[in-house]
């Protein structure tokens, strides 16, 4: 069941009404309903994987209690590693087995050894990377005594499986989400209105911008040889907006949906294309994953405590692992490596924390310096996106080579229709609302009620007329 589907348009109001009216506002009933709804939501993709989700949830629930009960020492570590190994084991089998098997075979092939490894014909369970990371953060926090274990299975299961975040995040933390789950939720009008607005904004990003970019991007990346340099460049720019609007649109819908149920999820995007350097970009892009890696990988590896070179090493490790998390393909690893490389000068010059505030805070327009920073950062991400989107590393290099050919200056012959208009609308709104949580959060803005209504109706109309509802899956479902 996709967020942009008819099924979800029916599912959400039904669960919403049951949640606020049929549960008698009892916490237990609210959580049981959320769990049943979440399992139904997940099972609608493939009910077989529901068992995997339940097993993974139970594993972390059980080992979590054991970790807490064990005295510091071998048993505590044993339970932690049991959880980590099984969680990562599932991820390894379902997501990475074929990659390792074929990469190893390729490696042996380079030495003249022909090895025929068995590859598994498995489907990647939707959201496995996300709920595995939920579970891991929980057991790691327990191991480090940051939290107490949740002894109510339903509560814990809702934390892992809450349907808005189940398949593509944001990757939640027990410290943030569990306290909300174990507390009775009371309906809050302005929170619900804000949630609905965020859902509509997310839908605009997903079905109007991302899904209208998708056919052009797919056409260009599937057959790059047929396009001129300028057309390839347009393809990458469109992909940059496609992936941003696809994923952040999904996150907006997830956050908005959660708010309808009185739950606030972690922010996942903060206008990353207004970032003035790559460090700022990564503080604004897929925030829940970036901070996850920071807290559970970068810092345990020593962070920046061991001096500059330790910091550089750890940064590279984090970006490579992050690339690998996105998919079992060398293209993602190169993408991660490239981002680490972009990060390097900032790290060496201690400038990675120079842009902590949003650009041009309190002003209408950015300074020329800010604008130049944004342009350079966006260009760097474009280059990296080529690797992210290409089928192979060599294909990405050829793609980049062909962009920088003589035909870069040829007039492009691609029908873009009205996509540019929507990208401009997106950027204008995101710029105006850049100090808010999402691109249309005008709760704080003094506007007459009728104007707000007119605007939302106009946006609804735009979504209906120009939205592409061909059930295009969210890109991050694949991760």
């Amino acid at each position: 069941m996709l967020f942009n589907s008819f099924e979800f348009a029916l599912f959400l109001p039904v669960v919403f009404l049951l949640y606020w009216f049929a549960t008698g506002k009892s916490l237990k009933a609210q959580n049981i309903l959320l769990l049943v709804a979440s399992y139904f939501f997940y099972g609608s993709w493939d009910y077989r994987f529901l068992f995997l989700l339940i097993f993974s949830t139970f594993l972390d629930y059980f080992t979590g209690i054991k970790i807490h009960e064990a005295k510091p020492g071998r048993m505590k570590t044993f339970w932690l590693w049991l959880s980590i190994s099984i969680n990562l084991g599932f991820l390894g089998v379902f997501k990475y087995f074929n990659f390792f098997a074929s990469s190893f075979a390729d490696l042996l092939g380079m030495f003249g050894i022909q090895a025929g490894f068995v590859t598994l014909n498995v489907i990647l369970p939707v959201g496995i990377s996300f709920y595995t990371f939920h579970g891991l953060s929980y057991v790691l926090d327990l191991y480090n005594d940051r939290i107490k274990p949740e002894r109510n299975y339903v509560n814990y299961a809702v934390f892992v499986s809450f349907f808005p975040l189940l398949v593509a995040g944001p990757i939640e933390r027990a410290t943030h989400l569990l306290p909300q789950i174990i507390k009775k939720r009371v309906f809050n009008y302005s929170q619900a209105v804000d949630g609905m607005q965020q859902i509509i904004w997310g839908l605009f990003k997903k079905v109007v911008v991302a899904d209208n970019c998708a056919p052009i991007v797919n056409n260009i990346f599937e057959n790059p040889g047929a396009f001129s340099g300028s057309e390839l460049l347009i393809g990458v720019v469109l992909f940059a907006f496609q992936i941003y609007c696809d994923f952040s649109g999904y996150s907006d819908i997830a956050l908005g949906t959660a708010r309808l149920f009185g739950i606030t999820l972690l922010r996942n995007f903060a206008f990353p294309y207004f970032a003035r350097d790559i460090a700022e970009f990564w503080r604004r892009w897929h925030i829940s994953l970036t901070t996850w890696f920071r807290d559970y990988l970068y810092i345990p590896l020593g962070g920046s405590r061991g001096g500059k070179w330790m910091s550089v090493r750890n940064t590279f490790i984090v970006f490579l692992v992050s690339g690998f998390w996105h998919g079992a393909n060398w293209t993602f690893i190169v993408w991660g490596f490239l981002n680490a490389l972009y990060f390097l000068p900032l790290l060496l010059m201690n400038k990675n924390r120079q842009n902590m505030e949003i650009a041009a805070k309190g002003k209408w327009l950015p300074s020329l310096k800010d604008l130049a920073g944004m342009a350079v950062t966006f260009s760097l991400t474009l280059l990296a996106w080529v690797f992210f989107r290409a089928d192979s590393v060599s294909g990405a290099f050829i793609f980049i080579r062909d962009i920088f050919s003589a035909s870069l200056f040829a007039a492009p012959d691609i029908k873009l229709h009205y996509i540019w208009v929507f990208i401009i609308i997106l950027l204008v709104f995101e710029w105006i609302f850049r100090e808010q949580q999402y691109g249309l959060q005008f709760n704080e803005v003094r506007l007459h009620k009728s104007l707000k209504w007119s605007f939302m109706l106009a946006l609804g109309l735009v979504i209906f007329i120009f939205g592409n509802f061909n059930k295009t899956e969210f890109i991050y479902f694949a991760f």
């Binding site: 008819f6 309906f187 209105v193 609905m196 939302m456 109706l457 609804g460 109309l461 209906f464 007329i465």
Partner: protein
């Protein structure tokens, strides 16, 4: 909470009204361009109310072909009957929606003496036509049509209705003008078995669907009852194809025989009636000369019967 529910409902209703009004406006705009049956692939753009016809043709592309390329006028002349064609080609329509179109035709006060159901075996053995979401993309928004379809039992109904309304804002819709395809002169020189194999391969993708056949049979039977209830005689023909019999041919024949026994409906197997390449523009669609030839030599007798 009440305030939230009220405002959400108001928002949805306001959006619904806005969309409907705009879709009606664009439909009106296109409808006013004035379409004849052969000037588009739409049914509602040319279907009027309270009309009397001698013949109504229904089915998929093989049915629509009697109207395309101004064939409509030629067929009317040969048969000497006022004709309306509600067939829809392109794999966008199945037995369900053909039934619905006929039902709507009658509900608007129209009458027809005879109904010719061009029953290509593919419409019976496949389900894709019943599942297409773009079936009504060339139809103007008519609220009575919309309302009747809401009450009609069919697959992915709401998806179809969604796209029905949404398509009223598409470039394709705005660009729709009365345009008759000129006479279809292109003709095959010989039967090309490799092309036939290629085409059949596409049909074989999901194999013969027994479940779909059963569902389609039930729907066609309902169509028989509908026509009879409206005092029309319904006649079935299996259209000609250069390669003769389609996949599923005998199953369809058995079904038609059963209907004949049950309701006395006439049926004719014309699958091998025209085996001359020059009468086809592909291996199963007659060109204009082929339509004239077939109507003159076969269809006339069926209709005059």
């Amino acid at each position: 909470m009440k305030r939230y529910l009220r405002n959400t409902a108001l928002f949805i209703i306001a959006l619904f009204i806005l969309v409907t009004l705009l879709a009606l406006a664009t439909s009106h705009m296109v409808y006013n361009r004035g379409f004849e049956n052969w000037e588009s692939e739409s049914n509602l753009l040319m279907m009027k109310k309270n009309q009397e016809y001698g013949l109504l043709i229904m089915g998929i592309s093989h049915a629509r072909n009697f109207t395309r390329h101004k064939n409509h006028l030629r067929v009317e002349k040969i048969l000497d009957k006022k004709m309306i064609n509600i067939g829809i080609g392109g794999g966008d329509c199945g037995t369900n929606d053909q039934h619905f179109y006929l039902k709507y035709f009658y509900s608007t006060g129209n009458k027809t003496e005879k109904v010719l159901y061009v029953l290509s075996p593919t419409i019976m053995t496949k389900g894709f036509g019943n599942k297409a979401s773009n079936t009504f993309e060339l139809e103007p928004l008519r609220l009575d049509f919309f309302g009747q379809y809401v009450c009609f039992k069919t697959d992915n109904k709401y998806e179809r209705l969604f796209y029905y309304v949404k398509s009223k804002f598409s470039r394709k819709w705005f660009g729709l003008k009365p345009k008759s395809l000129e006479i279809k002169k292109s003709a095959l020189e010989k039967l090309d078995s490799s092309k036939i194999k290629e085409g059949l391969k596409l049909l074989l993708v999901e194999g013969e669907r027994l479940d779909e056949f059963q569902r389609n049979s039930q729907m066609v039977e309902e169509t028989i009852r509908l026509a009879r209830a409206n005092q029309s005689e319904i006649v079935f023909i299996i259209p000609p194809a250069l390669f003769g019999k389609w996949m599923g041919h005998f199953k369809v024949m058995d079904f038609l025989e059963a209907m004949n026994t049950k309701y006395g409906t006439r049926y004719y197997d014309f699958s091998e009636s025209v085996l001359i390449p020059k009468y086809y523009y592909d291996h199963h669609h007659l060109n204009s000369a082929g339509i004239e030839y077939f109507t003159e030599n076969y269809l006339k007798e069926v209709i005059d019967h």
